[in-house]
């Protein structure tokens, strides 16, 4: 064996080799220092790997009618969720086959979910079928990152009261940005009761933190469930609606455009709220919601538009009730004051037509025959009353009365999306005509409910309820009780008083009774029921006039106050009054005797009359 000296001529190279070892050790340490000490992101990654934040969605509160009949309830369905950061190496083809989805859709959905968040769950596929769910549940362990989330969908006992219930939809980015409660895919009330009572109906989501292993198998609760919260079920809502009356109202309004609003005068509870044409509330539930919504949006009949709360019409002759009450209160007319009517009234170059009726008329007969001349005179008397020393002041005073009836403002109750209507101010006329440029005859049409007036069917019904109450109303509302039917909603139990004496209301109630007994509304008299009403025909520059009728019954113990508007249907006495009378008969007696009268309404369509 050849023997070399102790370390050979290259002994110095030991230092180089040692140096390499030390440098590599230091490089590894430096890298580990970066990973373990400097960069905090891996701790978050690790948590998201093994922790699943499972949201427990509480059942949304149910909705009942005033008699406790269930109207809106829930049905369970399943959403397939994904946490993109946890999606492992899965068999995409198998997955797509289970879901009946093509691979490119799979990839784009995953990308979309990843853009939202790598660590938060996103909805991957909405409302998978029960069979898909079952197949999936079995193979779940093979698809880490995916899980099934049970959710509930709204179901409706009857396809009615769509606008009142409103609908539930996914919380959009705007809502999610403002309220941390909502996460993408969460539902929120978009309109109607669902919106107004969202906080009560939704309940409180629960959160469970579970540990899972790499196969997405549940290992158990994190820290023995210390951070878990229980879901709290939503509260039930007991509405003021009368299901039978709502059903009947929607039936009568088939093939018509317009609305019916019925209120219980003593409480302000809305018995029925019909906006026609309407649609099945079930259309705005589930997977087809977006498509159906678009279809409804494009419908020229505007079914999404809640006419009862949002349509604004000049009230026409029904407004004479209010203007006469004001004149009586202001003392510019006495109940027995008589004026002659020759079928036309002239005031400073302005003329108002009237129809032929016995003359002269007093307050009661003027209402009974809906005399334009009488209304014009007393309106002028009110506005020209010298005690105010000027039209601005007099008009503002007159306008205050209207506001006290609920016109020109919203009620601010639980009715979503109500509009205030329009009652012009003195300033408005000042701007339009100049401060001294307008007289009582300039605004004469207001006296007969035309001109710069816009009222909603809800406001008309409320006005009728106030008259039925002889001087006050309770804010109209649709929710009777929350959670417990025996503890009523007291939010709207305060009376809103109208500064007009009760005796004047009695005069007007008498006149309204006469309208039905022997006046313009006599064809709609209900045998055995005393009804007070007033017809209206709203001039419509765009087509056929709108048919309007307001009424309450029984006269001495009002149970129901109602407003009916049928668009493009002509005289109030011909269509709106019969519908109101049928509604009242249905509500007070539980059935309708006058079948021919009912058939006449049911068989009539006004939808083709649309210009």
């Amino acid at each position: 064996m050849q023997i070399h000296n102790k370390s050979g001529q290259y002994a110095g190279r030991r230092k180089i080799v040692s140096g390499i070892i030390i440098v590599v050790g230091l490089v590894l340490l430096g890298r580990l220092f970066m990973l373990q000490i400097i960069d905090p992101s891996y701790k978050a990654f690790a948590r998201s790997n093994f922790l699943r934040h499972i949201t427990d969605y509480p059942a949304r509160g149910l909705i009942y009618d005033r008699h406790g009949e269930l109207l809106v309830y829930n049905e369970v369905h399943y959403d397939l969720m994904v946490i993109p950061g946890q999606v492992g190496d899965i068999d995409t083809l198998e997955f797509c086959r289970l879901l009946n989805m093509d691979v490119s859709t799979f990839e784009s959905r995953l990308l979309q979910a990843r853009r939202h968040s790598r660590f938060r769950a996103s909805v991957f596929e909405r409302q998978i079928s029960k069979t898909t769910f079952a197949a999936f549940q079995e193979k779940m362990f093979r698809f880490p990152g995916f899980f099934v989330q049970p959710r509930t969908l709204r179901r409706y006992t009857y396809p009615i009261a769509t606008h009142t219930f409103g609908y539930v939809g996914e919380a959009g980015p705007g809502i999610i940005g403002n309220d941390p409660y909502y996460r993408p895919g969460d539902f929120i009330g978009i309109s109607g009761i669902e919106r107004a009572y969202e906080k009560e109906l939704r309940g409180q989501k629960g959160l469970r933190i579970r540990m899972v292993d790499v196969f997405n198998r549940d290992i158990g609760p994190f820290h023995d469930g210390r951070y878990d919260t229980l879901a709290i079920a939503g509260k039930d809502i007991y509405t003021t609606l009368d299901t039978q009356l709502q059903l009947y109202g929607e039936k009568l309004m088939q093939n018509k455009r317009g609305s019916i609003v019925a209120i219980e005068p003593a409480t302000g509870e809305v018995l029925t709220l019909v906006s026609a044409p309407s649609f099945d509330p079930g259309l705005l539930v589930g997977r087809q919601r977006t498509r159906n919504y678009r279809m409804l949006q494009n419908d020229t009949l505007k079914p999404l538009f809640n006419r009862a709360l949002m349509a604004q019409y000049p009230p026409g002759s029904v407004f004479k009730l209010v203007s006469t009450l004001i004149a009586l209160q202001e003392g510019v007319v006495e109940p027995h004051t008589r004026y002659g009517c020759g079928g036309i009234y002239h005031a400073g170059g302005i003329s108002v037509r009237c129809r032929s009726h016995p003359s002269p008329v007093n307050v009661v007969t003027a209402i009974k025959y809906s005399c334009n001349t009488y209304s014009s005179i007393i309106f002028q008397n009110t506005i020209n009353n010298p005690v105010f020393g000027g039209i601005q002041h007099a008009f503002s005073h007159w306008r205050d009365y209207l506001v006290s009836f609920g016109f020109g403002r919203t009620f601010g109750s639980d009715l979503a999306f109500e509009l205030p209507g329009l009652v012009a101010t003195a300033d408005y006329y000042d701007r339009l005509y100049g401060r001294s440029g307008w007289r009582s005859q300039t605004i004469l049409s207001l006296g007969i409910g035309q001109g710069e007036l816009g009222v909603t069917p809800m406001q008309l019904a409320n006005m009728t309820a106030a008259i039925a109450n002889r001087g006050y109303y309770l804010t109209p509302h649709v929710v009777k009780a929350i959670d417990d039917p025996s503890s009523p909603n007291t939010r709207y139990s305060l009376a809103n008083n109208i500064p007009i004496d009760k005796e004047h209301f009695e005069t007007i109630v008498h006149a309204m009774h006469m309208v039905v007994e022997d006046g313009t509304g006599r064809f709609s008299r209900i045998p055995g029921i005393s009804m007070a009403g007033k017809t209206g025909t709203v001039q419509n520059p765009h087509g056929e006039n709108h048919s309007v009728f307001v009424a309450f019954a029984p006269v001495d113990d009002p149970q129901i106050a109602i407003s009916v508007v049928v668009e493009n249907a002509g005289y109030g006495s011909v269509w709106a009054a019969p519908i109101a009378s049928l509604m009242i008969e249905q509500y007070l007696t539980g059935k309708v005797q006058r079948k021919w009268f009912e058939d006449r309404v049911l068989n009539q369509s006004f939808l083709t009359a649309q210009p």
Binding site: Q2, S7, Y10, A11, G25, L35, D89
Partner: protein, 420 residues
């Protein structure tokens, strides 16, 4: 009796102690990686920690046997041991079983055995023998042929098993050759630059690198412009390096197979594809990175306990250490390895015979390569080429192979005065 006492007395206690500590740490972490509450006794042979305990015990028997056998057995039979290991490498190509897409294993009963572990040992012995038996101080042509031949032959056979990781381990012998003067400092530096440029080319656009080289060439050219011929050298060097960079890029785009490309792309471009090749590395980095300074505690690592890191007892055992013991644990492991390697170098340098010095350097080089590449790949500095962390990773072949190498060298060291 006296001979045995002499062996214990002359053996390097530091290396033995480091060996025992590292094997124990390895076992604890294998236990943690495999641990499931309420399952598996420590000696349960159905678990990897149970098996590893058996491997450790049998490894100690091997160590003791090596220490007791006459040292001349190893010097005398070096070439025969090498020959046997080559035969095993050939045999495994025909009779072996495929595990993880490599045909590198014999299966005997319930145990799998990897002959390439023996081949590393055999190659170290054979190389030591060739260099130790050289007639001249400078290697002749025949020596060079034999020396490189004994390394390349097993490397080629291992490559035929499709075990790229272990094939690359044979590169580490170049460190021993460097020490013996077979490879110059310039060659080592050129090799280093080549590797550096290679990785750089994969990480960024080749034209940026060539642009950078051009800039450096201009700067060096201006500085050395007074020297005759320097400019020509600079231009030549620039052209050679640019050509190299360009061909690396070309090779990567056109020659490499997709899955290799994917692995390299994961390494250089971060976590581009977490579902595919990047998954292991990503989970590995999460495990280590989430350990923090002090770690999550024994059996408390969520990545480890919920099995998020694949191959965690074997190639990715360092994840368990990083996660459960934190940076402190990492520091200890790296410290132990550097200590062991430097100690082995020290021992190698104090050998009186070239044979045992070359063998010591070979052992150190192989262990160093495993250490650097294994931990480097778990932290994303090196492509994922599955090779184990010596003494720590689960696996009988690896542990026995490492034990053989270390204790054979300790035997040489203990008998260094006799080995003349």
């Amino acid at each position: 009796m006296t001979k045995k006492q002499g062996i214990i007395k002359n053996s390097d206690k530091t290396v033995i102690l480091l060996f025992l500590v590292m094997v124990a740490i390895g076992w604890l972490n294998i236990y943690a990686a495999e641990y499931t509450e309420g399952r598996g006794h420590v000696f349960d042979l159905g678990t990897s920690f149970g098996k590893q305990l058996m491997f450790i015990l049998s490894g100690l028997v091997i160590a003791a046997a090596v220490m007791l056998i006459d040292v001349r057995f190893f010097t005398g039979f070096a070439k025969i041991i090498y020959g046997v290991s080559i035969l095993l490498l050939v045999a495994v190509l025909f009779a072996g079983v495929e595990i993880n897409a490599t045909k590198a294993w014999f299966r005997i009963g319930g145990l799998a055995f990897q002959p390439s572990e023996i081949a590393k040992y055999g190659t170290a012995l054979a190389l030591a023998s060739i260099i130790g038996n050289m007639r001249t101080r400078k290697p002749g042509k025949a020596d060079l042929l034999k020396g490189f031949g004994v390394i390349l032959l097993p490397a080629g056979l291992v490559l035929l098993q499709k075990d790229v990781g272990t094939t690359l381990v044979f590169l580490s012998f170049s460190l021993a050759l460097f020490r013996e003067g077979w490879i110059g400092l310039i060659a080592l530096a050129v090799g280093g630059i080549a590797v550096f440029l290679f990785v750089l080319t994969l990480m960024m656009n080749e034209f940026i690198i060539i642009g950078g080289l051009a800039f450096m060439a201009v700067v060096i050219g201006v500085i050395t412009r007074k020297k005759t011929g320097a400019v020509l050298h600079v231009i030549t060097l620039f052209l050679v390096l640019s050509g190299y960079v360009y061909s690396v890029d070309y090779a990567f785009d056109n020659i490499l197979q997709p899955h290799h490309k994917a692995r390299i792309e994961v390494l250089v471009h971060g976590n581009a594809d977490l579902q595919g090749a990047g998954y292991n590395l990503h989970q590995s980095k999460i495990a280590i990175g989430s350990g923090g300074l002090w770690g999550k505690g024994f059996l408390q690592g969520t990545q480890t306990q919920f099995n998020f890191v694949p191959e965690q007892t074997t190639d990715f055992i360092f994840c368990t250490i990083g996660e459960e013991w934190g940076f402190a644990g990492s520091l200890v492991i790296i410290g132990l390895f550097v200590w062991l390697l430097l100690r082995l170098l020290y021992l190698a340098e104090r050998q009186k015979s070239t044979f045992s010095r070359v063998f010591g350097y070979s052992v150190t080089s192989v262990l160093f390569f495993h250490f650097a590449v294994n931990i480097g790949m778990t932290v994303g500095l090196v492509p994922v080429i599955g090779i184990p962390l010596p003494l720590i990773s689960y696996g009988g072949s690896s542990l026995w192979g490492t034990t053989l190498m270390i204790f054979t060298f300790l035997k040489f060291d203990a008998n260094r005065h006799e080995m003349l």
